[in-house]
Amino acid sequence: MGAILTLLINGLAQGALIFLMASGLSIILGMMGVINFAHGTLFLWGGYSYVWAYYVIWNRVAQARFPDAYAIGQWGGSVVRVDRIALPSGQALPFHLDLLIFLAALIIAVAIVFFIGMIFEKLFINKVYNNAPAQILVTLGLQVIFTDVARFFFGTEGIQIVPPNFLNGTTRLWGGTIVHYNIFVILVGLAVALIIHRIITKSRIGMVIRAGLQSPEHVKAIGINIRRYFTYIFAVGAGLAALGGALYMPFVGAVTSTAGMNNQILAFIVIVVGGLGSFLGSAFGSVFIGLMTVVISLFVPALSVVANVLVMALVLVFKPNGLFGMAVNN
């Protein structure tokens, strides 16, 4: 019972993180027809931006409050370096400051990557609509370049990051261990899913998205400049990936430059399993893949990656509209 509970929470948290990445990827692919292989680098930049912003703000606040706080080393790469700071023993920042720093770092990370997403769309993606080979080359190129730029900026060594104090704990329940941060991640995933679902079903932007998933040309033909929406949808997708990246790094304990590509593969598997272009499909697909990943990594760790790819292949062969039959027919 306890083990099942632990697995369930971990799997749902994993699923929530994949979902943040996959939802944007799915809408970008379904509506704009763009296979965005740069999504992983946006996720990665979300992670790095968060960690950087978190340490910079936290260090300042800590040094201001505790004059005897001292640097014990540095993190970072050729451009960006931040101090590792130790607090006098037994000292910690109060809850409200921890919370504010955490939220500020998240917002900064999402804003930076939202902006990067806009630039990507305006400068590059814009030029390759309706040209799949060019899209793959351009987005894969951006992936490689921006991942290397991240290495240059932030270094090749992983930067350790733990959840803020108020989320950094565990509770024993029915013999299982519940990681507080995982609960938080699940709640964020759920909240984002509900907000996006509401936007898609209730707002005018949502109508344009649903119509555009079916036929961008017919959206133009009723007098709507759908390209203008593309820029923002791409940027919002980037922002969601960044939120996923920012929340992922404390989840695994460190930010490393390979995290983007690894999670991008998972996100692609999710959108195939969930059904291309379907927002609900990507939500269910993320939960499914998240749970499956933790269960398989517990019992047969060697198969954890293979199993995901295998599921994707089986879905493609037997249920090309996704496991839940939710793919949007173009």
Partner: protein, 237 residues
């Protein structure tokens, strides 16, 4: 009596899709208030003519003026805002939107007049009123055609371009579409692409015949009805 002015003038237009040139010099001149049908065999370029007018197909040469303004090279969404509505082939209604959302999304303004026009659409097509809150993927082909036509009426349009509304519909439904078009042409300039000669002659006053990407003949529909030779040559009737 004042001579009605030219509303939509297409002159010697050559247009292309990718490497293929589809129109090789098409010209039509449509006056304010007219109902004009574009006839021709399958693949003659009728649909492309409409798509070229609204900028969905690129123009290589020639001119297109609407209400005295050149619209060549303008993006489609701006051309639509000039007051042209397109009712595309195969409806172009959005499956995952309700009937209401389909109509509202097409509204360029949300003012009182648009609301009045929406009421007019729902009176013209009572089916849409009944299915108002349903996803349009649940509609029949005829209802989708009504939705597509209705969508073109929610804005203050000067001209409506309608692409083969009879396609795939049962004869009894085509009759309802014909009645609706006869009603619509009282208020608006209508350009109708149609294979169904009965529907075309019931709605159109004047015709153009398109063949191999060119406009090859035009005149009064009542004369064409009598001219079996011309019909046989270009329409295969």
């Amino acid at each position: 009596m004042q001579k009605p002015h030219s509303l939509l003038k297409v002159e010697d237009v050559v247009s292309y899709i990718g490497p293929y040139t589809i129109l090789h010099g098409a010209s039509v001149d449509i006056k304010q208030g007219e109902a004009v049908v574009i006839l021709g065999r399958n693949g003659a370029g009728k649909t492309t003519l409409l798509k070229t007018i609204v900028g969905l197909v690129n123009t290589r040469s020639g001119s297109i003026t609407f209400d005295g303004k050149s619209i060549v090279g303008m993006p489609t969404y701006d051309i639509i805002k000039e007051g042209i509505a397109l009712v595309p082939e195969d409806y172009g209604t959005f499956n995952m939107l309700t009937v209401e959302e389909n109509l509202r999304l097409a509204m360029l303004k949300e003012d009182g007049e648009s609301k009045d026009r929406l009421d007019y659409v729902l009176d013209l097509f009572p089916d849409l009123k009944i299915a108002y809150k349903r996803l349009s993927k649940t509609l029949s082909g005829g209802q989708r055609q009504m939705l597509s036509i209705g969508r073109s009426l929610v804005n203050e349009n000067k001209a409506i371009l309608i692409d083969e509304p009879s396609k795939g519909l049962a004869p009894v439904v085509i009759e309802r579409v014909a009645l609706a078009l006869q009603e619509i042409k009282k208020h608006t300039t209508v350009v109708l692409v149609e294979q169904n000669f009965a529907l075309a002659s019931a709605v159109g006053e004047r015709y153009y015949i398109v063949s191999e990407g060119q406009t090859v003949a035009n005149g009064q529909v009542e004369d064409l009805v009598k001219d079996k030779e011309l019909q046989a040559a270009h329409l295969g009737i």
